[in-house]
Amino acid sequence: MTNQSQPQKFIVPIGPQHPALKEPGHFEFGVDGEIVTSATIRLGFVHRGIEKATEDRTWVQNLYLLERICGICSNIHGTVYAIGVEKLAGVEIPPRAKYIRTIVAELERVHSHLLWLGVAAHEGGFDTLFMYSWRDRETVMDLLEGLSGNRVNYSTNLIGGVKFDINEKQADEIRRGLDFLEERTHYYMKVVTTDETFLGRTRDIGTMTREQAELLGAVGPTARASGVPRDVRSESPYLAYNEHPIQLQVHDGGDLLARFIVRLNELFDTYRLIRELLDHMPAGDLTVRVPRRIPEGEVLIRGEAPRGELVYYLKSSGSDKPDRIKVRTPSLCNWGTISHVAVGHKLADMPMLLVGIDPCFSCNDRLVTVNNTQNSQDLTWDALRRYGIEYYK
């Protein structure tokens, strides 16, 4: 992903190891003084071979593996995968399980957006906001821990339902936590939209028009901040989003400020939605039986992760293991917007611009680079193995 407007003079490398990056990635910014003249992105430092690994595990075991694709939006991976497998198996989960899945997915969105707010503030050198928002994020982490016993990988899903129930006491705790968070979010909204020094770092920085966003295939809050009304929850509602629709949050600004506003507005909508879901929880079972062997077939399933549209492709050959699982995470769609928008900005804006899409590096490191410049050759399995051993010797 390269975008050059001038011959390079002075290249500032950011990564794979750099204080601004919490995960390894490599960015090369060509600069002329402080102005960025070119931007190159290289990914793939945390390729873990998860897709291949799924083919050796059963459908149930994969649930645990896939939840570990991302450390921040772990739950949505398990949820989307479970929905896909249930669709292949042709089972319908009980309504109460649907509601619980939705509530946990939305709580995860709260935690992810608050985390992003802190990280973005830190990249802009506003550490006070960083510390405050992460302190308040503990509230939602505690709620999730109270529900599932875990702070990060909640393990909500089973194939055919969910693992835990939400009783009235827990529901009240969630309501109280949300009241507190809503008050804090109002405060952050005020800080982000009125603090002059912070506005100086976000207003009119990294502006992406609606045409550009559509052309580059941006997804999630990044696209919505450019005025693209795109959200899987409202485009093709799944789980409980049919009965309780979301209010789509769109902003026409396209700059970093718009991304802050869209994500914070989404938080308000999420609080409303969780309260509504808690008030209307249907009674009933949590699980249904699903056969161990999933019938032959393939399915493409989408879900809205905190960062945008998450796509799973599942293919079954009728055994207890999947034939192929392909994952496309939202960060991958948004990378292209950075190299496109970066040119012409100041070097100091780059960290915020990078964080503006809420990137998740290890999520999308599932790529294979096809080298077209050298003569390609077919290798047998043994030859490939020998090549691998030689390469890493």
């Binding site: 500032v12 506003f126 550490d127 006070t128 510390m131 020094t197 912070f198 100091a348």
Partner: protein, 307 residues
């Protein structure tokens, strides 16, 4: 025997050991205050000292492609500049150890040595982060230096002298100059933040962009000296501003109260704002800082002429 007292002044009090110790204490207070403002616990009281001891015990790596002499000498020169500057200001409320007509100008130049050394240290290496950091350090020097100087000239003009000790006495006998010269006080205080590269003026060492700026390649002794030098400069700068604008410093208690009071305000400013980009810093200083200081100077001159 004649040489004993100047030696004590240089090595133990108020220069040398005392200054370094107080610098470390003030750094701790600064860090602790910011941490409390940000809802963190903050470091323990000996953390700055522990950092320095640890750094001194570590190997100093001299990267390839640098001028070795310069690389080793620059931290020493910067530190020496900051320590020497302390001899002309009323540290701890005692009369300055050395004093002559016009020592204000010398002190200001000595304080700028540190920044110049930082810039040179960055430009000396071939590291790209250091080079950008050095450019930013020097750009920032050019933006805050003139307003800062003008802001400290205000009290000097009112007092009718360029001698720090005399200005200090004058400030102690008259109404606090912060009341009559509020603009100058603000410019001086914010100028101190810029001088010490503290947030929101920490673009020269913005860790999320250029790692550690000009100091990226420094380790061990050099890094320890630069950090100590900055701590010393913090104490000297606080003393200077407090003695000029907050009614002078006549005894150790006043020194403690006034400098710590200033530090509380500075820590607040450090945690209130997002980091300014270097172009925003320059714009802020020349559009607002310099203008404020100039207006203030003009008013002072007019009032003086009319009298």
């Amino acid at each position: 025997m004649n040489n004993i007292f100047p030696l004590i002044a240089l090595l133990i009090f108020p220069g040398g050991l005392f200054l370094m110790a107080s610098g470390l204490v003030y750094e701790w207070v600064d860090r602790k205050l910011i941490a409390r403002y940000q809802n963190r616990v903050g470091p323990r009281w000996f953390q700055p000292l522990a950092d320095v001891v640890k750094l001194l015990a570590k190997e100093e790596i001299i990267p390839t492609g640098v001028s070795r002499g310069l690389f080793v000498a620059l931290p020493v020169i910067g530190m020496a500049g900051a320590l020497t500057a302390a001899l002309y200001v009323p540290i701890a409320g005692f009369a300055p150890s050395f004093s002559f007509a016009g020592d204000l100008v010398v002190t200001l130049y000595l304080l700028s040595m540190m920044t110049l050394c930082l810039g040179l240290a960055g430009a000396n290496t071939t590291d790209r982060f250091s080079l950008i950091g050095a450019t930013r350090t020097l750009t920032q020097l050019f933006s805050y230096e003139a307003p800062f100087l003008l802001a400290l000239l205000g009290p000097a003009i009112v007092a009718g002298t360029w001698n720090i000790a005399e200005i200090n006495n004058f400030a102690g006998q008259n109404i606090w100059l912060v009341v009559t010269q509020l603009m100058g006080f603000l410019v001086a205080l914010v100028g101190l933040l810029g001088k010490l590269e503290m947030p929101p003026f920490d673009a020269p060492e913005a860790e999320t962009e250029i790692v550690s700026g000009a100091l990226t390649e420094y380790s061990g002794r050099g890094l320890a000296l630069f950090r100590l030098g900055k701590d010393v400069e913090l104490v000297v700068g606080l003393t200077l501003v407090a003695s000029f604008y907050l009614g002078g410093i006549a005894n150790p208690l006043e020194f403690l109260l006034k400098t710590l009071g200033l530090l509380i305000v500075m820590a607040g400013m450090q945690s209130l704002f997002a980091r300014l980009r270097i172009d925003q810093t320059v714009g802020l200083w020349w559009r607002i800082g310099a203008l404020l200081a100039l207006v203030q100077l003009l008013v002072l001159i007019v009032v003086r002429v009319l009298r």
